[in-house]
């Protein structure tokens, strides 16, 4: 190699040399780094509980607020990613771990996300005294809880379903456990992880808006962000400000969709063994930039090198420790472990009940269960109404593949758009026409989640083999017979998936949609969501715990008694294969 004067010579493979695409990529990366630094400083600003953070309704402040909101989202996403990999790896690899972690995850999944906020915020503030970081952490944690659980489940499922022959191949070719995790297990998990991650982020915009205005001990802290901007606009009945917020949110979601969602989905297809060639041809523009720009090859090479170094270090460590003798299963220890676990669970239940019973009497507990029933009725009726509207429309779209291709991204976009931005408009309408809030606040619950039904119905319809459609035509199956015997059974599995997601989202949304404010006016619908919202505002922790526990029980019961069964039915009877 030719010696030159200047920088010390390093191996610089030609595929890593910069090219024109880097002109696009470099500013983006530098910008992102600067943004993170700025955000980090802003987040750790000095703050004492009791100070009022002023939120300006000046539209020119909105881009800054939007950035703060996005940054929270990114932090939560990174945390969720790390959490899901670690948690799922432990659950999939340790039998004891699995026994605790999976049921816990199942419960966590049904705890209303905004419930976490009211429970954890004081702890986080205590963690960072005198800094805003504690409140930021509480908000990020709330978003985290809206993203982490389903991502973790998806990784866990993937880790459990790595094909046996691939595991054997990895062992035959002496991949270390660390390497096996990163070269086999994680890649296998990526397609479903990325899909769940994108679903999570889409759902997360709703909660980021809802969690920026945090109530601690009867006082509201407004973190700078779009959510707080909207909360302030609501307080001041400023309809124009709401309009600006909707506009900037639109831009943010559009950027998220173009810069993150689509490139990531396209990238994740590489990890699917069964992806067809024409699916591989979908290459979003930003994905192409990422592929072409050498900067990202450089980043990738760096990450791989780091991974290799960790592997080498671990291998050295493993050599020093004698290789572990395979542990034999010991049934008596297992039983002891189970008993200890049950004991702990029972103690926790007793403690929670005692804590609630200290301040709340039995009559109120019964009343809260009734409130849960009211919300349950709303959820069910709304799912039914949304299904009546969206199933025919979804089928109509799905039967026209060209239309479906164009509509699907729009529906994904709509699902990501935080519906709570439109709540003020609903209040204005209800006031204007003097409508009954008990009924007319209900649609807000499903405003953001109905899209899951539409999306899945479209997917289910497009999956119906053309041959089956032709066969039905050939037999002269039409109208109601066609609906009953052909299309409804065909889309049922996809529909159930959509309905479950929509129902879960609606339960969560009940906390913010059963109590809605506009200026000095507050509209309330009777339900458990309103109960939790009110007790949270009052800072009454026993009643918050009661409300959340009851809501949890309802969600769990619904999952077990209704959705799980429909799922099984769909999986057993109506699969198309």
């Amino acid at each position: 190699m030719e010696q030159r004067w200047g920088l010390p010579l390093i191996a610089w493979p030609s595929r890593l040399r910069p090219n024109l695409w880097d002109l696009v990529a470099l500013p983006m990366v530098l910008g992102a780094i600067a943004l993170i630094a700025w955000g980090g400083m802003a987040m750790s600003a000095r703050y004492h509980v009791g100070e009022a953070l002023s939120i300006s309704l000046d539209p020119w402040r909105l881009p800054e607020y939007a950035l703060r909101t996005v940054l929270r989202m990114v932090c939560a996403l990174v945390a969720s990613l790390v959490f899901s990999l670690v948690y799922a790896a432990i659950a999939a690899k340790s039998r004891q771990g699995e026994k605790i972690l999976i049921p816990v995850l199942d419960i966590l999944q049904s705890v209303p996300i905004l419930g976490f906020l009211s429970i954890t915020v004081t702890g986080f503030i205590a963690l960072f005294p005198g800094r805003l970081l504690g409140v930021e952490c509480a908000a990020i944690f709330a978003i985290f809880t809206s993203q982490a659980w389903n991502m973790t489940f998806s990784v866990y499922q993937s880790l459990r379903t790595v094909p046996a022959e691939l595991i054997e191949a990895a062992r035959m070719y002496h991949l270390s456990p660390w390497k096996r995790f990163w070269r086999l297990e994680v890649p296998h998990a990526i397609p479903s992880l990325v899909w769940n991650m994108m679903m999570s982020v889409s759902g997360g915009w709703f909660f980021v808006v809802a969690s920026e205005a945090i109530t601690v001990a009867g006082q509201t802290i407004m973190l700078p962000g779009i959510g707080s901007y909207i909360a302030t606009a609501i307080n001041q009945s400023n309809l124009a400000a709401i309009g600006y917020a909707v506009l900037i949110m639109f831009v943010v979601i559009l950027l998220y969709d173009q810069l993150l969602f689509r490139p990531l989905l396209a990238w994740s297809r590489k990890f699917r063994a069964d992806a067809s060639a024409d699916e591989d041809n979908i290459r979003p523009w930003f994905f192409v930039v990422l592929q072409r720009a050498r900067l990202f090859d450089l980043v990738q090479a760096g990450v791989l090198e780091l991974n290799r170094m960790i592997d080498a270090a671990l291998a050295a460590l493993a050599r020093r420790r004698r290789s572990l003798v395979e542990r034999r299963p010991r049934p008596e220890l297992d039983r002891l472990f189970d008993i200890a676990l049950l004991g702990l669970a029972a103690a926790a239940a007793v403690w929670i009940i005692a804590f609630i019973r200290e301040t709340v009497d039995l009559a109120e507990i019964g009343w809260v269960f009734l409130l849960g029933l009211a919300t349950a009725a709303r959820v069910l009726i709304l799912i039914a109404v949304a299904s009546l509207i969206w199933v025919p429309i979804g089928v109509a779209i799905g039967l026209r593949p060209h239309v479906a291709d164009r509509v699907q991204p729009v529906v994904q976009f709509l699902a990501a758009f935080p519906a709570n931005l439109f709540f003020p408009a609903a209040v204005v309408l209800i006031l204007r026409f003097a409508l009954n809030p008990e009924i007319w606040l209900s649609p807000l619950m499903i405003l953001g989640t109905q899209w899951y039904i539409l999306f899945n119905v479209i997917v289910g319809t497009t999956a119906l083999p053309l041959e089956l459609q032709r066969a039905a035509q050939n037999l002269g199956v039409r109208r109601s017979l066609w609906w009953r015997r052909v299309i409804l059974p065909a889309i049922f599995p996809a529909y159930v998936t959509g309905a479950v997601t929509a129902a879960g989202g609606s339960w969560n949304a009940s906390i913010v949609s059963e109590v809605v404010q506009w200026g000095d006016t507050t509209l309330t619908a009777t339900g458990i969501g309103a109960y939790i919202a009110r007790t949270t505002a009052e800072g009454d922790s026993a009643r918050i715990a009661l409300g959340i526990a009851v809501l949890c029980l309802y969600v769990l019961a619904f999952n077990r008694l209704l959705w799980r069964r429909l799922y099984d039915l769909a999986a057993e009877r109506l699969r198309l294969d």
Binding site: P163, E165, L166, E168, A169, R171, M172, Y173, H174, L175, S176, K179, R183, L184, P187, I190, K270, F271, R272, A273, D274, A275, A277, E326, R573
Partner: protein
């Protein structure tokens, strides 16, 4: 009768001593899969393992690979005790086991990477292995872009790149079509015969008898439940072997006979089968295929009697498809097998000549008479007041004898036969067996 001394063979490469493997069933019953297997692979030898499903041949290969630890006994590779995968032994898998997110080059390099071989050297060796196996030009292709045959070539390149002493092959050609399999097999044998690969011994699990006779120096026949070595057949035919030669045909016949008759009664005609129990691993045969085969057997050119290898060839059936049918015909008393030939019995001929209803009757009688599980289900349904019983009840009984998966398959088979024979009915939704509509 096969205890030839083997003076040509050299030192042992791989050796097992009294290897046994038991799998635990859900209710902690042990199920013996491999029973005291002694085996030696010598330098320069290709050994093929044949056996019906349930003979544990795949498990045995994994024990040799160090992937499955035996409960008893010893596996030794050049004096090293094999308890986990060791360097020097590579494996090729039935379904290729390629990493879909790695290119051909990435897949081939992976094994070298794990051995700690550095970048340039790794690339050089991977490229030369890819060239050797005839994949040049496809280095940067992803597995999903390749046909099955090309994918298995990647599997071979990945195994050969680590310069293995021993190559373990788990039905490597069975996912490929006939022509592709033949080409790949030929290419592998060429590499081996010309000593272009450093490999000193191969063990191949196969379900294709002609394939085994074509490539192996020795064939091991495994018997089922539990897996034992039932016979060893040394093959000293010179290579390349012509499948038309008399010597070749004779060995093929011999293997067919061993695989289609029960141990201890090789070839003796009319021997009564020892009674089978409820937990007998019923062969996986559909009524449609059975009646199709019986019809063909009655017609020209067979006229009721056929040479098995010839039949397999004519009817285009591989071992895994043909043997369950043959076994079922024997089980029902529709045919018997001796010295590699199958011959229809009077009952089998009667079945062939009967119309659809009469066939059902013959089938039902044979089913109740010869398949204890079917008779047992019918008896339970007769005795129960409502004449109904959940399928899970019988599944539990089967799981005392078979693995979970096999138990389900056997129950499915008997339900299909029973429904066809109309000796009981089955409702898919409720998973209940009954005597409804009779």
């Amino acid at each position: 009768m096969f205890s030839h001394p083997e003076p040509l063979m050299n030192d042992p490469l791989l050796r097992t001593e009294a290897v046994s493997k038991t799998y635990r069933t859900p209710d902690h019953h042990g199920r013996l899969v491999l029973d005291h297997i002694d085996f030696t692979l010598r330098d320069g030898e290709i050994v093929a393992i044949l056996g019906k499903s349930g003979s544990g041949k795949s498990t045995f290969l994994r024990v040799l690979a160090g992937l499955v630890p035996p409960n008893e006994g010893l596996v030794e590779y050049r004096g090293i005790n094999v308890t986990q995968p060791v360097r020097g032994i590579a494996m090729v898998f039935q379904s290729y086991a390629l990493f879909p997110w790695l290119t051909v080059l990435g897949n081939v390099e992976l094994g070298l990477e794990a051995l700690g071989i550095s970048g340039a050297e790794r690339r050089r060796r991977a490229v030369s292995a890819i060239d050797l196996i005839g994949l040049d030009g496809f280095e940067n292709a992803y597995p999903k872009e390749l046909s099955g045959g090309m994918r298995q070539r990647v599997g071979f390149a990945r195994a050969l790149v680590v310069d293995p002493d021993i190559l373990l092959l788990d039905e490597p050609f069975s996912s490929l079509d006939v022509l592709t399999a033949e080409t790949l097999r030929g290419d592998l044998l060429d590499l081996w015969d010309d000593r272009r690969i450093p490999t000193k011994g191969m063990v191949i699990v196969s379900h294709n008898i002609e394939e085994a006779v074509e490539i192996a120096d020795r064939i091991l026949i495994f018997s089922s439940d539990p897996g034992r070595i039932r016979a060893q057949i040394p093959i000293s035919l010179p290579r390349p072997r012509s499948s038309e030669s008399a010597g070749f045909r004779q060995i093929v016949d011999q293997v067919y006979t061993l695989l289609t008759t029960e141990p201890g009664r090789d070839g003796r005609r009319g021997a009564k089968a020892e009674p089978i129990g409820i937990g007998f691993r019923l062969p996986d045969a559909s009524v449609q295929q059975l009646s199709g085969l019986i019809e063909n057997l009655t017609e020209a050119p067979y006229h009721g009697r056929a040479d098995l290898p010839h039949l397999a060839d004519e009817e285009n059936l591989v071992m895994d498809e043909l043997f369950p049918l043959i076994e079922t015909l024997q089980l029902f008393g529709f045919a018997h097998v001796s010295s590699g030939d199958i011959e229809l019995t009077a009952l089998g001929r009667a079945y062939a000549e009967a119309d659809m209803l009469a066939r059902k009757q013959i089938f039902a009688e044979a089913l109740l008479k010869h398949v204890p599980l079917a008779a047992h289900i019918r008896r339970v349904l007769d005795e129960r007041p409502g004449h109904r019983a959940p399928a899970a009840r019988f599944l539990r009984e089967l799981e005392d004898h078979l693995s979970e998966e096999e138990a389900e398959r056997v129950l499915d088979t008997v339900i299909n036969w029973g429904r066809h024979a109309e000796i009981f009915a089955y409702d898919y939704d409720s998973e209940v067996l009954s005597l409804e509509n009779f």
